[in-house]
Amino acid sequence: RGGDIRVTMGTAPFDSRFPNQNQTRNCWQNYLDFHRCEKAMAAKGADAAPCQWYYRVYKSLCPSEWVTTWDEYREEGTFPGKI
């Protein structure tokens, strides 16, 4: 028995809004919700800490290429989603 290194790992919990194998919408919804949350908190001048949940979920679920592409679209103003 070697050294027993315990590492806690986790991922996004089950979301009953997206029960099926195709989790695209789960990723998309959380990406949107994070950025909407950020925008809304900034508009009210409030702390954006609660938004971190959505951040961690989409970071967990979304393919990184999608996130990069969507971040670029937001940068250019061509992001098709409503934020």
Partner: protein, 261 residues
Amino acid sequence: MAHQAHSYHMVDPSPWPILGAAAALLTTSGLAVWFHHHSTQLLTLGLLSMLLIMLQWWRDIVRESTFQGHHTPTVQKGLRYGMILFITSEAFFFLGFFWAFFHSSLAPTPELGGQWPPTGVNPLNPLEVPLLNTAILLASGVTVTWAHHSITESNQKQAIHALTLTILLGLYFTALQATEYYEAPFSIADGIYGSTFFVATGFHGLHVIIGSSFLSICLLRLAKFHFTPHHHFGFEAAAWYWHFVDIIWLFLYTTIYWWGS
């Protein structure tokens, strides 16, 4: 003198079927050549020969039936089955395009902004020209039924009026739809919205044109007294086809134009 001991029509040898197949080959390969090599020669040849063969084949059928009396009730029954089966196959044809529409619109992808109509697409107002088009086709369904009743009631004058009105309504629909296509703020190249919209409504428009043409031939034959109150299947087939076209429009209108906006 030999007589047949059955009520079927053993058709005399005819060149039209095989020539029609050849025309179909020219047309389909012409379409491929147009797509890949930017030339319309073969396609034009194909469509032209298709038109000529259709005219001559159907002219021959009118000769065999109206002028030579070969269309017994048995033969007519077969033609009825044939037309019903054909229209059924057309229904399945449109079903495919409706499937495509619902596949894309019920679960819009992130690329579309997760919404339908997609981000950036301004759909046509269903309460403007599309609603008028709906009224036009519904009215034409009434007039074609009026024409049918006039034929069965031996009212030649009214039959001609009603059928003419039906055709005019069909042409009015086509003209309005053409201007809609021209004025639309989106094109077939505008993502899956453009594709589903124009392919579904485009094939429908083609069927309106085909239906109007069929009805026009019927008008010509009506004026030449080809139809009797009890035997006018050509007209009935055209009327069935026309009602089918109307029904397809109703589905298009309620799903793509109305729900899809």
